[in-house]
């Protein structure tokens, strides 16, 4: 009886072996990178210059910590012609005007789509648009009934990038300059002399959501990043050094605001290969 069972198992193994081998082959062959995503996280020191005439007619100057996180990838379609970027920035800072202390918490998220123009092997220019969402608060505890100014804004922005590859010691260093200019959107702004008690305590919300355009919110931001491969060339470790400048300004409901944020940051870049079964499609780096 044992002999019969052993022979049956052996026979089954011989019968299914080719299929098993084939299946293994197919799986191996179809596990290919379907998408390459370049992720970066940087930490930096920001120089702040905040003006909000709802709180004070004078600028508060200080410093803060800035966190940036970016996903940058090639689109699946169009073979390197389209690229997407999501970008998150958050700044926590403290600023002074003489003896007065102001705290700032500001964050923004943007999603951008770009068309790429390859000028040559080294230079690539990208033009596109961004959807931006930003929020935050400037907090001046010394003010009694107007201790804070909320910053909430959604906008569509024009965005452009220039990517330049610099080979140093046989390794690819990437320099990138990005410029974003909000063109139209909506923003929150209290009326000239309105207290937040009227808005949130009594529900007087007339005229606090305003259309924004470069005429009343002449703002822009730019970022210069330099990606440096470090360590073994087989390890794919990349260091990012960056300078970013965010210049938000508004002149709405008689209230003048500027929030200038210049930051120097350092962080790491990780290139992730998203793997999925399917037809072989070659994935490209967004760079």
């Amino acid at each position: 009886m044992r002999k019969i069972a052993a022979r049956t198992l052996l026979l089954m193994a011989l019968l299914f072996m080719p299929a098993m081998l084939k299946a293994q082959y197919v799986i191996t062959d179809s596990i290919i990178p379907r998408r390459i995503v370049v992720k970066s996280t940087t930490h930096g020191i920001a120089a702040l210059d905040n003006l909000d005439t709802y709180l004070s007619g004078y600028s508060f100057v200080g410093a803060g910590y800035k966190l940036s996180h970016e996903n940058f990838r090639d689109a699946l379609m169009g073979k390197r012609k389209w690229k997407y970027q999501t970008l998150f920035n958050a700044t926590l800072g403290i600023a002074l005007q003489e003896i007065n202390i102001q705290y700032a918490l500001l964050a923004d998220y943007s999603w951008g789509g770009y068309h790429s123009f390859e000028i040559n092997d080294r230079l690539q220019l990208l033009a596109g648009a961004q959807a931006q969402l930003s929020g935050g608060v400037l907090y001046l505890p010394a003010n009694g009934n107007n201790p804070a100014s909320a910053k909430i804004r959604a906008a569509i922005a024009a965005s452009a990038m220039a990517i330049y590859h610099i080979p140093i010691k046989g390794r690819d260093h990437i320099l990138r300059l990005q410029l974003d200019i909000p063109l139209a959107g909506v923003m929150f702004a209290p009326q000239y002399g309105q207290s937040y008690y009227e808005i949130f305590g009594r529900g007087d919300t007339k005229g606090i959501i305003r259309f924004s355009y470069p005429g009343n919110t002449p703002s822009w931001r730019h970022a210069l990043t330099f990606d440096i491969p470090v360590g073994s060339k087989y390890r794919n470790n990349t260091l990012r050094l960056s300078y970013s400048g965010d210049f938000y300004q508004s002149r709405v409901n008689g209230i003048r605001t500027h929030i200038y944020n210049n930051a120097i940051s350092i962080g790491v870049v990780r290139t992730l290969y998203k793997i999925k079964e399917g037809d072989p499609i070659k994935a490209y780096s967004p760079y």
Partner: protein
């Protein structure tokens, strides 16, 4: 690409940078900055001009020559304090290392009409205390008495409901806010909301919409919803004096507007202070507070310079000597008077307390 860059630069040039106020950080610059902030943000120019002939431009002409580059900070602080006193507004203050300027006339030129020593004769030693409010049942007529010295504490409906529940057997209530200089308007609202069983219009609020002295929004109706908790509809007397200011003044304004017919304001005219103050800073960092958002009573009238009581009573010197509070006694008489009238007309309103 060149075009994009050209248009971008053109756009940035056209829109330009948004800059801070252009006053220098020197005595003259700080004087001009303060005068300008008040000129562009203060909310009672028109009303003060009608009441006592305030002329802010003339004030500049009078005080500006007192300031020169040689003026010391302490001298400047005093000059600016005197300039601000022209507004006769207790909500206008300048704060620095030299102190805080105050305009006190709304309070100290008026009869004090209150004595905490006399009050002890009523509170005794066994009074209760809840979130800043002292309360007691006055014998022999079992009138409830609560002393709200400030609205600086954040009052909740739970606090007020607890106090009112403890006074569930009292036929009437005295709310003593004499000397209450204000605090949080939300606390004043919370307390007032326990004295109406329906949503009521209690006044109007508006704000500046531009730098002109008369650039104001349309008055927005202030509605008060009944509290979620104990509602007191029995006879209620609010005791006031010249020290009742700001949020306490607004409390009186709201209580006067409630549809409960058994609420009376008794005592002296309040100190006023109906403008919600906002703050700003001078180039040298000194902090300036000013009235920014006026509140009007339910008839659309300013209450900046005080609210007249329904029943005018002063604390007499005879009673003072006897340790007797004329106002509390008058309030007790008023509550008795209400009940006598109710009995006469066989009405039963005001005899329920809801939980």
């Amino acid at each position: 690409m060149k075009k994009i860059l050209t248009y971008t630069l053109l756009l940035l040039t056209l829109t330009g940078c948004i800059k801070e106020d252009s006053f220098d950080n020197d005595p003259i610059g700080n004087f001009d900055a303060l005068w300008s902030i008040i000129d562009q943000h203060y909310c009672f120019f028109d009303y003060a001009e009608k009441e006592y002939g305030l002329d802010w431009d003339a004030a500049y002409d009078n005080y500006r020559p007192m300031v020169s580059e040689e003026t010391t900070n302490e001298e400047l602080f005093d000059i600016l304090g005197n300039l601000l006193a022209e507004l006769r507004d207790g909500h206008v203050n300048l704060s620095s290392a030299y102190g805080t300027t105050y305009y006190w006339d709304w309070s100290i030129t008026r009869p004090i009409n209150f004595s905490d020593s006399i009050q002890r004769n009523y509170l005794g030693t066994d009074f209760r205390y809840n979130n800043g409010i002292k309360f007691q049942t006055l014998l022999p007529d079992s009138i409830g008495y609560m002393y709200v010295s400030s609205f600086s504490n954040s009052l909740g409906s739970g606090n007020i409901s607890h106090i009112l529940a403890k006074m569930g057997r009292c036929p009437g209530l005295i709310i003593d806010i004499r000397g209450n200089g204000g605090g949080m308007i939300t606390s004043a609202e919370t307390l007032a909301s326990h004295f109406t069983d329906r949503e009521a219009s209690v006044g109007y609020m508006l704000h500046k919409t531009g730098i002109g002295h008369n650039d104001f929004s349309q008055p927005e109706e202030m509605k008060l919803k009944p509290a979620k908790g104990a509602i007191w509809l029995r006879p209620t007397v609010v005791l006031t004096n010249g020290g009742v200011y700001s949020a306490a003044n607004n409390f009186v304004m709201m209580m006067q507007a409630l549809p409960n017919p058994y609420i009376a304001i008794l005592g002296d005219k309040t100190g006023g202070g109906s403008g919600m103050p906002l703050n700003s800073t001078l180039p040298n960092g000194w902090r300036l507070r000013y009235s920014a958002c006026p509140m009007l009573d339910v008839n659309g009238n300013h209450t900046e310079f005080g609210i007249e009581p329904d029943i005018r009573v002063d604390l007499t010197s005879e009673d003072w000597d006897k340790g007797r509070d004329t106002m509390i006694e008058a309030a007790r008489q008023y509550i008795k008077f209400i009940y006598q009238n109710l009995e006469n007309s066989e009405k039963e309103e005001g005899e329920t307390i809801k939980f």
